[in-house]
């Protein structure tokens, strides 16, 4: 039951640092810790209603009171002009002339790639596999660009439903406070916004950081797993706890831009939409080559891939870092999602894709490129490789799961999907035959393949440059090269290590 006493504090006044009737801040704020000893789970609520039963066992929970630490100021960077500066930094579009030049160059390159593709098709029968692959891949990629050109972000219709922002995390003592602050300072009306953070059995000071944040934002709901249960459990419990009509999942290392929550739910005006992905950039892009490269890569996978998919309401993956769901849809599939076994093992990775697929089966999934956020990308190669392996495993698994119902979707995304299903499997073979077998047989690499791949890379790298003005656009080539030489093989690696459930990034 909700605690009327604690609801007197105006969260808007709190966030703004002062209210209309400026009452002196109470010396100490009491929160309620509701705990289920059987499930070793506790909820810390201050200004929000106390949950009455354990979300797991439905048993009554013991409620104890605690004193929140004194509220500290919101981190400076979260407020003020910083955000605008960051936006300018991220999206400093080049000059007009340059834009046109880049556009023409990109179009020309794309046309060249198409020409090569078509002329290579004339000698199709000399290497049917490579040619079929490059044909499909070519059509696929080019169609991505074409479809992306038709992409429009869902219009802002003034839709303002209740929203629960969920942040599951573990051992994030450094970032969690900031993340929460970002969420609270994002600008969505507090009365329609609930924030649930899940501490998945952290061994550091994460819980303390959360409680500190609760002191700043008393409506914050903290779910505390005393032992590590896994990301999906965190998400599930948070979902069960949530009271908003829509859920916005935000990673603990993801920072929302102002207006992001409002923007990301606009698409839900359409009742067939079950989920919407927001746009995420790399927060630490300037850190090193790897993050620069990932920045380009993120941009491409959002601005081209997801945008293209979104045209037919078929975004294949709602990334965990920043996506919105219709809560009822999640509730509907929650049990199944939680209990999905893959090859006899509970899938504890790639939760975002899995969840997306469950919803995608019956609903449409969109992408909103105007709902902005930034996230922290892996900063060293080891992490990156592990992350990629995890993604790949998830990709391989989910792509087949979705394959079962994908044919019921519109032919264009359906066929794209199946192409995406096959291509990573075939790709290494094609790369071998184009780069290794062909040079041995005829003395030269299959030129159309190499030229095609490079042209495409150049096109999306330039696209990146055109839209962001970031100087490290060329790292797209690094991505292509590393992908061609190494990461393409991870599909096989993923297939072989499918049973591994280790959370790669951390």
């Amino acid at each position: 039951m909700a605690e009327p006493k604690s609801a007197s504090t105006n969260p808007e006044a709190l966030s703004a640092g002062g209210g209309a009737d400026a009452l002196p801040a109470p010396a100490e704020i009491h929160g309620n810790r509701c705990r289920c000893s059987a499930c070793r789970i506790a909820m810390h609520v201050a200004d929000s209603p106390k949950p009455s039963v354990c979300p797991y066992c439905q048993a009554k929970m013991t409620v104890t009171s605690y004193v929140l630490p004194p509220a500290t100021a919101v981190a400076q960077e979260v407020a003020g002009d910083d955000v605008a500066a960051k936006l300018r930094r991220l999206y400093a579009r080049p000059r007009h002339g340059m834009m046109i030049a880049l556009f023409l160059l990109g179009t020309g390159l794309l046309a060249t790639a198409v020409y090569f593709q078509v002329s290579n098709f004339e000698s199709y029968w000399y290497a049917p596999l490579v040619n079929l692959y490059s044909l499909i891949a070519g059509i696929f990629i080019v169609s991505r660009f074409l479809l992306a050109a038709f992409y429009h972000a869902p219009a802002d219709t003034g839709f303002e439903p209740t929203v629960t922002v969920i942040v599951p995390c573990r051992n994030e003592q450094d970032a969690i406070g900031r993340t929460i602050d970002h969420i609270y300072s994002e600008g969505y009306p507090l009365r329609k916004k609930e924030v649930v953070v899940v501490n998945d059995g952290s061994t550091d000071q994460t819980l303390a950081e959360m409680l500190k944040a609760q002191a700043r934002h008393p409506t914050l709901v903290i779910v505390d797993f005393e032992t590590n249960r896994g990301l999906c459990h965190g998400m599930a419990v948070a979902t069960l706890m949530a009271r908003g009509e829509f859920l916005v999942f935000v990673d603990s290392d993801t920072f929302l831009f102002p207006g992001a929550v409002r923007k990301v739910v606009q698409g839900f005006v359409d009742p067939m939409v079950g989920g919407i992905a927001g746009h995420t950039d790399v927060e630490n892009a300037t850190k090193n080559l790897l993050t620069k490269m990932q920045d380009v890569r993120y941009f491409f996978s959002y601005k081209i891939m997801k945008a293209a998919e979104s045209v037919f309401g078929a975004v294949s993956c709602l990334p965990g870092c920043f996506s919105a769901y219709r809560r009822t849809c999640v509730m509907h599939v929650l049990d199944r999602w939680l209990n999905t076994k893959f090859m006899g093992v509970y899938g504890d990775f790639g939760d975002d894709r899995s969840m997306t697929n469950f919803i995608f089966k019956d609903y449409r999934i969109l992408y909103d490129d105007e709902a902005l956020a930034t996230t922290l990308a892996p900063e060293n190669w080891k992490q990156y490789i592990r992350q990629q392996a995890r993604w790949n495993r998830s990709y391989v698994r989910e792509v087949f799961v979705a394959g079962k119902f994908m044919w019921r979707k519109h032919p264009v995304p359906a066929l794209s999907w199946y192409a995406m299903m096959v291509m990573p499997i075939v790709e290494p073979v094609v790369i071998v035959s184009a780069m290794i077998v062909a040079p041995i047989q005829s003395g030269a690499m299959t030129p159309s393949y190499v030229i095609g791949v490079m042209a495409i890379t150049l096109v999306w790298s330039l696209h990146f440059l055109q839209h962001t003005g970031r100087k490290h656009w060329w790292t797209g080539f690094i991505f292509t090269i590393t992908y061609t030489l190494f990461f393409s093989w991870q599909a096989y690696y993923a297939l072989l290590t499918m049973r591994r459930t280790k959370w790669g990034t951390r």
Binding site: A2, V53, Q58, S123, R191, T219, M331, P411
Partner: protein, 1322 residues
């Protein structure tokens, strides 16, 4: 206001078992996100695209890139073909840019692209092509050849053919095409698909040394078997490859390819020995494909080419567009306007195919390369020249020089004139057949000097003149209809690198029409026919004087010999246009044009020749209105008009203006055989004219005249092959004695080719051989109607007529031919024969000798003379000459035929030939020759026929109706046209001693056993219908010895046996001698064949059923009588041999013994009377022995004299050792003046083997086969007497010699017994 506080969370209601959990149910009834319609549209579009993709693309490409054929007339019957090995940027191939340049150059020069269907249409339906048609082809299914050229072809609107080598396609080799592309090509407008073997570009082992050869043209060496594959295996290999290739293409593109390109452009044409290879390749490809292509230096193909081996010019990588076009420009046919083309100087006009040629100011030096044995050069564009004349000045330096006419470059078909020092020959070859010599002659080619060769080809006539002299007498007739081909020069020398010749001058010109006219005074003169015969090479038209037109009217000329003129015109392919000589144009009005036309038609002439030469020009133009009406009247009847204007008007300009008024007429101008080129006369056909000159004073005529009377009228190669096979098979059947089959085969030939005179002639020959005279006559007559130039046939027909008793007709027809061909030797011989039969022997002999004088090598004349000569020496001499001619290698086969056909072996002097026959039969390198001579060898074995399967073995030639008989019997019956049906024992012609025995079941009509049956002589034994038994000897057509008796045929089977041995013939009935003594055979009776024949005077009535037959040679049984002269003369010795007298051949009493001083007694010691009487009675040859102790020279005169004095048949010279050949040859020669039989005999004392050898070959007694016979003398003691085991000894055909000691013989003591015995005998 916080909404969360206002709306508290709803506690979850407890879930009761069995109730639906609404908490978990879908909160919003989802609008189903379905895309059924989208999918339907999508699938629809995909299906449409998939289904229509190929056809629409094909339609689009067909429409869009249809090759442009320039709108020129389609009237050409030739095209050029090019082939590119590959198009790529590699250094040794034609680059795409170059290819583009080639197409541009072709387009700019008006070349039109054609496809395979056009080629097929041309070659099979005669559909004409656009002018300058060019077929572009590619090979080996090379990827680059398609990928690099398709855009060029599309852009240039051109088309090409790709020949598929399918193995690399199946193997997916990177450089090769793939099937989807091939299919694409096949359905596009620019490409067509042909085949080019599946695996034909590999090399197969060609010998044990590990050499390799091309797959299609090399018989494979099989290493495991250490052998070559057999022809059947070879064929299977090739045909399997072709099948795989063909099936693959059909399967993959769904269409049958119609063309094939031989891998490497080679079907075996590069090796003249690869006859089988060529035939196999062409046949197999011909079975599957309409067209076959080779590649090489030749580009041009004409309608007359063999569709299975069309030329393609192999385009070399270095050629620019201009060069390519320049090459092609010279290959086009020089059909029109080659009036006197001096083609020598133009280097590009010649294609050097082999060897080397150097063009210089003084002509071409043609020579072999160090590796080749010759050189060959073709005149580009001569492919369509049909009737033409060439003049060629050349200087042979080393080797044989020759000219190809109407040839295909691979020499599969050609006409070839070969010239070597002293010799010239004309050969013709058809595809797939061996070349045959049409004519050969002695001709003097001057080495290292300029020679002039003129060749005139006109229809089927070929005339060759060397240095102004006609060789091959008056021309040769070609086999088959005129078919165009290339003209080429050839050089050959067996030593590589040696052949060399210089060609100084070469002129080629169209046929020139030349009219011969003569004054009426020449009508009926033999000179006229002779002149026409001599000048037939340049005369194409005869203008016999017909009418003279004067001012008073028309004077018909003394009737010309229409028969002769028409016959000559027919023989030489000339036109007859009777001449109207106009002395005064005013008389012309009296000639009604319609009437004249009718008259011309009545005369069987093709037109009329009006000579206005005598008129002055003004008067001649006044005749033009009349000429106009005449041309109109003539044109209506299909006749032509030839007009000669006065010489003053023969200026080209004047003449053409005059002729323009009478366009249907032809101008005749004065001229000679090879006039200088005339210009500007293209509208009218120009005919030159010449007058037959008056006969020269000296009329010593050359006698030799020959027209090769063989011809085949064939249109297609397969057809030629067909007829040739029928012809050959027929000959084989004929030679094998199967006349019925021969007749059937040749009838088929005749049906196939009704215009073949040869088929008709051969059918006539068969009928004649079968004694079906009426039919034979009919065939002969038909054959002569087809080709009246067959003089030999005309003679045969006359002979046949004569034998049928229609002597007048025979005479008449011979006379006609004698008038047409006054100098013909065959006719002369026929004439001689005629005289001989009418008893004018000396005259006949003189005629034959005259023929031989001018042509000593005339075999026929020699044979004829052999009949006519009387003196033995002369006869031997003549026979030797025959042998000398016949034993020359080139003549051997013909000579063998002459021996067979003329039954030369039946002449007694034929023994001269036997050593040659024996040697040739064994050692000749030519199988055909060996076979024919083997048939002439005397038999050594005995043939027994028991007819177990109702058939007769191939040892017999049967002329009758060979009906199947029941087992164990053979029925021989005459056909409905025969009186006699015979069985002739093969190889019996030279059998001297022998027998034939026949067991008969029943017989209707007469039945005869024959021995030594020749044209006019024979021995026969048999019975007639009236119940008589006969034994007869016939010589020169009359029975000289005969015996007969009434005979009642015993019931059941009868066994008749005729036995010849020594000088007697014995007939046996059921094993018993029919007559008391053997019948005497005159020593000079010739040889001949052995056989049996039923005979009945009524046609088709004779019939016999034979149960068993046996025939074969008998050994020569010889008895030497030794002992004292008295003993030999006594009857004791006779007693010893008396019982076996009928089995003996020779009795040899030792009557002469050389004295110790070396002299010989000239008289017989003792009384020879008894022995002589005995030998005479039993027809034994009496050959007394002359016992020589030293081999002194025994003079032949002595032997002859002693034999004459003592009336002896010959001698046996018993010598210490065999004399040498030189002595024998000399002796033989000296003995030839008399028919004496002399045998040399010597016994080796160590081994006891006795050798016998006939020295004189006169009326020999030994089997005419071996030089020396060996035997062991069997000594018989007098008491025992001779015991001949006939059966046992018959297996041997050599001599068997007994020695009987007369002294020891029983009853040697008393003379009384002998006289008593003699008396009882009487």
């Amino acid at each position: 206001m916080n909404i969360f506080t206002a709306v508290p969370p709803t506690p979850r209601p407890p879930v009761r078992p069995g109730k639906k959990d609404h908490w978990m149910s879908r909160p919003i009834q989802a609008l189903k996100d379905q895309y059924v319609q989208a999918w339907l549209y999508f699938l629809l579009i995909v299906s449409i695209v998939v289904a229509w993709w190929f056809p629409i693309r094909v339609l689009y490409q067909r429409y869009r890139y249809t090759p442009v054929v320039s709108q020129v007339q389609r009237d050409a019957e030739s095209f050029v073909a090019l082939t590119y090995t590959g198009i790529s940027d590699r250094t040794n191939e034609v680059s795409p840019a170059q290819f583009d340049e080639h197409l541009k150059a072709l387009h700019d020069r008006g070349y039109a692209p054609i496809g395979l269907a056009d080629v097929q249409g041309l070659l099979y339906q005669g559909k004409p092509l656009p002018r300058r048609a060019v077929l572009v082809t590619f090979e080996q299914a090379r990827k680059s050849s398609y990928f690099e050229t398709r855009d060029i072809l599309r852009r240039r609107r051109w088309k090409a053919v790709m020949f598929l080598w399918t193995k690399p396609i199946s193997d997916e080799e990177p450089s090769s095409l793939r099937w989807p592309y091939v299919k694409d090509m096949a359905y596009s407008a620019n490409w067509e698909i042909g085949a080019e073997s599946d695996n034909g570009f590999v090399q197969v082992p060609s010998d044990a040394k590990g050499h390799k050869g091309n797959f299609m043209t090399t018989p494979m060496w099989i290493a495991e078997g250490q052998r070559y594959e057999t022809a059947a295996e070879y064929e299977r290999r090739l045909s399997a490859d072709l099948k795989v290739n063909f099936d693959l293409i059909v399967r993959e593109i769904g269409r049958k390819p119609i063309a094939y390109a031989f891998p490497y452009g080679d079907f075996g044409q590069y090796d003249s020995r690869a006859v089988l290879t060529r035939r196999l390749n062409l046949d197999l490809v011909g079975q599957r494909y309409a067209l076959g292509f080779v590649s090489g230096n030749m580009a041009l193909n004409t309608r007359f080419g063999d569709p299975r081996r069309l030329n393609r010019l192999l385009v070399q990588p270095g050629w620019s567009g201009a060069e390519l076009v320049a090459k092609l420009e010279h290959t086009w046919p020089i059909v029109t306007g080659f009036e006197n083309v001096a083609v020598l100087g133009n280097e590009t006009a010649w294609i050097t195919d082999w060897g080397r040629s150097a063009f210089g100011t003084n002509g071409i030096l043609l020579r072999s390369t160090p590796a080749t044995t010759g050189a060959k050069m073709w005149l580009a564009g001569s492919n369509l020249c049909r009737d033409f004349q060439t003049r060629l000045r050349f200087m042979p330096i080393e080797g044989q020089f020759g000219v190809f006419l109407r040839a295909t470059p691979d020499e599969e078909s050609y006409l070839y004139i070969g010239l070597e020092a002293g010799n010239a020959w004309l050969r013709q070859k058809f595809p797939g057949l061996e070349p045959f010599t049409l004519a050969s002659a002695r001709a003097s080619v001057r080495p290292n000097e300029a020679n002039t060769l003129d060749v005139f080809l006109r229809g089927r006539q070929c005339f060759v003149r060397l240095n102004g002299v006609s060789i091959f007498t008056e021309g040769a007739e070609l086999r088959g209809p005129p078919k165009p081909g290339m003209l080429g020069l050839n050089l050959w020398d067996p030593r590589p690198g040696m052949a060399r010749a210089r060609v100084m001058d070469f002129h080629l010109r169209n046929r020139i029409d030349n009219l011969a006219e003569w004054n009426s005074s020449l009508n009926g003169e033999p000179w006229l026919a002779k002149w026409i015969n001599l000048n037939a090479y340049r005369v194409t038209q005869l203008g016999p004087p017909w009418m003279d037109v004067t001012s008073h009217g028309v004077v018909p000329v003394l009737a010309w010999d229409g028969e002769v003129v028409h016959r000559l015109a027919q023989v030489y392919d000339m036109q007859v246009t009777p001449r109207v000589y106009v002395h005064d144009e005013r008389g012309l009005d009296l000639l009604q044009p319609d009437k004249v036309a009718d008259q011309v038609q009545e005369l069987r002439a093709s037109g009329m020749y009006v000579n206005l030469a005598e008129l002055d020009p003004a008067a001649s133009t006044r005749a033009i209105p009349w000429l106009k009406t005449v041309t109109a009247a003539f044109a209506a009847k299909g006749l032509s008009l030839f007009v000669r204007f006065p010489a003053a008007m023969e200026q080209p300009a004047t003449l053409s203006s005059v002729m323009a008024v009478i366009p249907a007429a032809h101008a005749v101008v004065g001229g000679t055989a090879l006039p200088t080129p005339t210009q500007g006369n293209e509208s009218n056909r120009m005919v030159t004219v010449e007058n037959v000159p008056a006969p020269p004073g000296d009329l010593s005529l050359s006698l030799y005249y020959q027209i090769t009377g063989t011809a085949m009228t064939n249109a297609k190669p397969s057809f030629e092959l067909q007829t040739e096979l029928l012809r050959q098979d027929g000959h084989a059947a004929f030679a094998g004695g199967d006349y019925a089959k021969a007749l059937e085969l040749w009838s088929q030939w005749h049906q196939l080719d009704p215009n073949s005179d040869e088929a008709l002639m051969l059918m006539g020959d068969v009928c004649r051989r079968n004694d079906e005279s009426e039919k034979a006559l009919r065939y002969y007559t038909e054959s002569l109607a087809v080709n009246p130039g067959q003089i030999g046939l005309a003679v045969r027909r006359a002979q046949l007529l004569e034998s049928m008793g229609r002597k007048d007709e025979a005479q008449e027809s011979l006379n006609l031919y004698a008038r047409v061909f006054p100098d013909n030797s065959e006719l002369a011989l026929a004439q001689a024969d005629w005289m001989n039969l009418r008893g004018q022997r000396p005259e006949a002999r003189a005629l034959a000798e005259r023929v031989l004088k001018s042509d000593p090598e005339n075999l026929k004349a020699r044979v004829m003379l052999q009949n006519l000569l009387d003196a033995p020496v002369a006869r031997y001499d003549n026979m030797r000459q025959l042998l000398a001619i016949g034993s020359e290698p080139v003549m051997q086969y013909a000579f063998g035929e002459v021996i067979l056909n003329q039954e030369l072996l039946s002449f007694p002097e034929a023994s001269v030939l036997m050593p040659f026959i024996g040697k040739t039969a064994e050692t000749s390198p030519d199988l055909q020759v060996r076979q024919i001579y083997q048939r002439l060898l005397p038999r050594r074995d005995i043939i027994v026929e028991d007819f177990a399967d109702g058939r007769i073995s191939t040892n017999w030639i049967s002329s009758g109706d060979n009906l199947p008989s029941r087992e164990g019997r053979y029925r021989l019956r005459t056909t409905r046209a025969q009186q006699e049906a015979f069985l002739r024992l093969q190889g019996s012609d030279a059998m001297r001693n022998g027998f034939i025995e026949v067991t008969l079941d029943e017989a209707r009509g007469h039945f005869w056993l024959y021995a030594r049956r020749g044209p006019s002589s024979m021995v026969r034994f048999g019975f007639d219908q009236s119940g008589y038994l006969h034994l007869q000897v016939w010589r020169n057509g009359s029975a000289v010895q005969y015996d007969s008796k009434p005979w009642l045929r015993p019931p059941g089977a009868v066994r008749l046996r005729l036995e010849l041995r020594g000088d007697g013939a014995i007939g046996y009935i059921n094993g018993k001698a029919a007559f008391v003594t053997p019948l005497k055979i005159p020593a000079d009776l010739g040889q001949g064949w052995w056989g049996a024949a039923p005979y009945a005077p009524q046609l088709g009535m004779a019939n016999v059923i034979i149960r068993r037959m046996e025939a074969g040679p008998l050994p020569v049984r010889m008895v030497l009588m030794t002992g004292t002269p008295a003993a030999i003369s006594g009857d004791g010795a006779i007693d010893a041999v008396k019982n076996d007298a009928l089995n003996l051949s020779v009795l040899a009493p030792v009557w002469f013994v050389q004295n110790s001083d070396g002299t010989l007694p000239t008289r017989i010691v003792g009384d020879p009377a008894l022995v002589r009487m005995f030998t005479q009675y039993y027809r034994l040859r009496l050959l007394p022995v002359i016992q020589l102790f030293m081999n002194s020279d025994i003079p032949a005169e002595w032997l002859i004299r002693v034999a004459r004095e003592n009336r002896l048949d010959g001698f046996i010279l018993s010598m210490s050792h065999m004399p040498d050949n030189e002595w024998l040859d000399r002796m033989r020669k000296e003995l030839e003046v008399s028919p004496l039989e002399v045998i040399a005999m010597s016994t080796d004392e160590n081994t006891g083997v006795t050798s016998l050898r006939e020295i004189s070959l006169g009326y020999g007694i030994m089997p005419a086969r071996e030089k020396t016979w060996t035997t062991r003398i069997r000594t018989v003691s007098g008491n025992e007497g001779l015991r001949i085991k006939t059966r046992d000894e018959e297996t041997q055909d050599g001599p068997i010699v007994w020695s009987v000691d007369a002294a020891a013989a029983p009853g040697a003591a008393t003379n009384e017994t002998v006289t008593a015995a003699a008396e009882t005998q009487k």
